[in-house]
């Protein structure tokens, strides 16, 4: 047709425009970073002695939570939800602790590899059940929450086992400077190494596509079945890393699931990932977890009953979801 129209389709734009778009698309994550910075300042004011040791402790306590959040994000982005994350972490943790107990450091490498595969497998079981039974994700994973927790109890009836020294060392101590905990570096490295290549690939696009509009995704030639199973496998993988992190940081395996499932849902919502799927990224929830942990730390500094901190977390979860859906309703009107 004519040349004027021919030039109109643009895919490349100026760097400034690209930056602007990046900011616009990640405005929630950037907002969370600002909140985190403010909170760190507030912590320093409340507790002037807060320093490298505090950051260190924070990073270690955040590590498993953040991995749980990453796991939940994988499932939620594809319009799923995984309530079994806590017990998958418990299962992988006790398996690793039991296998590594009194074994050589070298054998532990095999154990770590095996546990990662275990994570992929149990995630695949969750995903396959969701896809092939056509039972809602919530119900399947709620049931699997108990199945995996039961399995964990069969592996280790009481907390026990051990962790390889090199694995524990990975999560302890600072790197380069006192202010940079190794656990934080590990977290960022793990999430980035797994997530970024996937996000860039067609598989990552498929996850967003299935979460955003399953019918359109199907019609675009995406296999909804495979994509969903994959997203649950990813959730299983992150949970397994979380389980290893639990073993590494505590030195033992605990068969009773911690509060990780609930925290991961809260983190996902706080982290700007839509529970309806398709929107958000993995770093938002990770930052949200740090914020939630820091809030808890601050409350102890302020001598607030830790039980009230639980109440606060519940209220924050409910409050954020409520506000989120209010915004959604406004937008639809």
């Amino acid at each position: 047709m004519n040349a004027a129209v021919g030039a109109a389709v643009e895919s490349r734009s100026s760097p400034l425009a690209t930056l602007g778009r990046l900011v616009r698309r990640n405005v929630w994550t950037l907002g969370l970073l600002v909140i985190l910075a403010l909170l760190l300042v507030a912590t320093k004011i409340i507790q002037p002695s807060y320093g490298p040791a505090g950051i260190q402790g924070l990073a270690i306590s955040v590590l498993p939570l953040a991995l749980a959040a990453a796991a939940q994000t994988s499932a939620v982005l594809a319009r799923g939800i995984d309530l079994s994350i806590g017990s998958m972490m418990a299962l992988t943790s006790v398996v690793s602790a039991r296998l590594m107990d009194d074994q050589t450091e070298g054998f532990a490498i095999l154990v770590v590899a095996g546990v990662l595969i275990l994570g992929l497998v149990i995630g695949a079981v969750n995903g396959a059940l969701v896809v092939f039974t056509r039972v809602p994700d919530i119900v399947v994973t709620l049931a699997m929450l108990f199945v995996w927790a039961g399995a964990a109890l069969l592996v280790l009836n009481t907390p026990g086992g051990g962790s390889a020294k090199w694995l524990s060392d990975l999560t302890r101590g600072p790197l380069f400077t006192d202010w940079l905990p190794q656990a934080a570096v590990l977290l960022v490295a793990v999430v980035a190494v797994i997530w970024i290549p996937i996000r860039r690939s067609r598989l990552g696009l498929s996850i967003y596509a299935v979460g955003s509009d399953p019918l359109a995704a199907f019609r675009s030639g995406v296999s909804v079945t495979r994509t969903k199973i994959f997203s649950y496998m990813l959730a299983g993988l992150f949970s397994a890393i979380g389980g290893l992190a639990l073993t590494a940081t505590t030195g033992i395996g605990t068969p009773v699931p911690g509060p990780y499932t609930l925290m991961s849902v809260a983190a996902v919502v706080l982290g700007g990932v839509s529970l309806a799927g398709g929107r958000g990224g993995i770093f938002g929830p990770v930052i949200a977890v740090i914020i939630l942990s820091l809030l808890r730390t601050d409350m102890t500094f302020l001598n607030v009953d830790t039980n009230l901190a639980t109440v606060a977390q519940g209220l924050i979860l409910v409050g954020v979801v409520m506000v989120g859906s209010l915004i959604q309703m406004r937008r639809e009107r």
Binding site: A8, A209, A216, R219, S220, G278
Partner: protein, 523 residues
């Protein structure tokens, strides 16, 4: 109809599909020659979309053989069908709302340069590939979807109601492009309700009725259109079509003012400025092409959404509905086109009809059967709802289901009823039960607003009709003068002596463009 030795590009035969007890396709066949634009036609529910879904791998057939270029294909997913050379563009654009256009293209592995060429040819200006699909207007999305399909050069491209809801300038371009494909190596299967479009771009038409292929018509034949209509309707049409229901002139309630008065109503981008009056005792028809604001109008009147501007007066009193319950309180009830929006599919007929009796807080207590049952029975009787199967509503036929949605309101007594295309996709016998019913209700003093996508219904059931175009009322026509030609012209916002759209289409080929742009397509 096979033309000697010419090999078919697509040859599907004996295709059947049933969903539980419902037969969607009995024995459908579709044979498409290389280089032809082939229309697939049939009344609503005839099985067109099921056939397309089967051909593009979205649905698995129970039986049937599908051959592409002489090789049998079995596609279990759209991805496989795509590899076999079969691609469809659906009414709902298959773009992922939360991905930008560029990612959408990558997702489907669409080559970018051909895509751009097609977008340009289709006349979509200034497309920013970094925009999220959700931010792009619907009309543009459909064009993008089409360009994306064209770019991968499928053997057979299936277009499902492609031009519906497209502004005139874009649909002309689309028809141009389709025309340009004729005589090549590839083919297009074109699904549309618009006979004029079919006549202008298609070579042949396959007609489906009740899940069966009932005939193939050569569009060059002189009486092609009549034959298609004949095939689509079958014998029942002849039997009933002259049996008009409306008798005599409309009797407008002489005593008083309008039941509903609408003044300058506006909502969203589609409904801009609509005013009219609806009187007790009349059936007022509403005619509009798809997406001219009629959906929003009915949603406002039924209390589902709130207007941005304008007023609604009921019996001269200004009202503002915040919930459908408020409209029902004012005696305004709504029969939607989509029965999936109206029915409790897993509940029995009686529960469906009795539902409105229980919605108010003070009726939450024990159900008073003695007062409820007679009303429900009477409504079932009056609509002759099939009650042999006492089970769930989802096992009823489409016609019976629609009767249940109407019966629900009859049971409580009707003052004002809003019917949005109530006969869509139901059998012709039920249709001819619904028209007299509407007349009876009106005769008993009810006010009825009837939007219909079938122009012939205006003459059959209405007293007068208003025509909405571009979000405004552009004409009011007495039912006595409402022959389909007049209505069609009015619906396109054409003067009665103006060209019909087919002539516009024809003139588009010679470079001219007649009509203005009613939609809003920004890029």
């Amino acid at each position: 109809m096979t033309r000697g030795t010419t090999q078919h590009l697509l040859d599907a035969s004996g295709v059947s599909k049933r969903y539980g007890a419902v037969v969607a396709l009995k024995s459908a066949s579709l044979r498409v020659l290389p280089g032809e634009v082939h229309a697939l036609m049939g009344a609503n529910g005839a099985g067109k979309s099921t056939l397309v879904k089967i051909l593009t791998g979205a649905v698995r057939p129970d039986e049937g053989v599908i051959e592409v270029r002489g090789t049998q294909r079995r596609s279990h997913s759209p991805a496989e069908a795509r590899r076999a050379g079969l691609v469809s563009v659906y009414q709902e654009p298959a773009l992922i709302p939360d991905l930008d256009i560029d990612s959408n293209l990558r997702l489907t592995g669409t080559p970018i340069n051909p895509f751009r060429d097609w977008v340009n040819q289709l006349g979509l200006d200034a497309l920013d590939l970094t925009r999220m699909a959700r931010e792009v207007p619907l009309a543009s999305l459909r064009i993008i979807d089409l360009a994306r399909a064209l770019a991968i050069e499928p053997d057979v491209l299936m277009l499902d109601e492609m031009t519906a809801a497209l502004p005139a300038n874009l649909s002309e371009r689309v028809l141009d492009v389709i025309n340009g494909m004729r005589g090549g190596d590839r083919s297009i299967v074109f699904i549309s309700h618009r006979m004029i479009e079919i006549a202008s771009v298609c070579d042949r038409a396959t007609v489906l009725r009740e899940g069966e292929t009932v005939g193939v018509v050569d569009m060059d034949d002189v009486d092609a259109e009549d034959r298609i209509v004949e095939l689509m309707l079958g014998e029942i049409a002849e039997e009933l079509s002259d049996n008009g229901v409306r008798k005599g002139a409309p009797e407008r309630g002489s005593d008083g003012g309008p039941r509903i008065e609408v003044r300058g109503l506006a909502a969203s981008e589609r409904l801009r400025d609509v005013s009219f009056e609806l009187y007790p005792g009349e059936v007022l028809g509403v005619i509009a092409l798809e997406g001219q604001g009629q959906d929003e109008l009915f949603d406002i009147l039924s209390g589902s959404i709130r207007p941005v501007d304008g007023q609604v007066l009921v019996d001269g009193k200004k009202v503002s509905f915040r919930h459908p319950a408020d409209a029902i309180q004012e005696g305004i009830v709504f029969v939607p086109a989509d029965r999936a929006e109206a029915l409790l599919m897993q509940r029995p007929v009686r529960d469906n009809i009795a539902l409105p009796f229980s919605v108010r807080l003070r009726r939450w207590g024990p159900i008073r059967r003695s007062t409820e049952k007679p009303k429900v029975d009477k409504a079932i009787d009056r609509l002759q709802i099939e009650m042999r199967a006492q089970g769930e509503v989802r096992f009823l036929s489409g016609g019976n289901q629609q009767k249940v949605t109407i019966a629900r309101w009859l049971a409580g007594g009707v003052q004002t009823m809003l019917c949005f295309d109530p006969t869509r996709g139901i059998d012709i016998r039920t249709k001819h039960q619904i028209y007299p019913l509407l007349r009876e209700l009106a005769a008993a003093g009810a006010a009825i607003l009837l939007y219909t996508s079938e122009l012939s219904e205006i003459e059959l059931a209405c007293d007068r009709a208003i025509v909405i175009f571009g979000g405004e009322v552009v004409a009011e026509i007495d039912a006595a003068d409402a022959d389909e030609g007049t209505l069609l012209r009015a619906a396109h916002n054409l003067k009665s002596d103006a060209l019909l759209p087919e002539e516009i289409v024809a003139s588009a080929h010679s470079g001219g463009s007649a009509s203005e742009d009613p939609g809003e397509v920004d890029g």
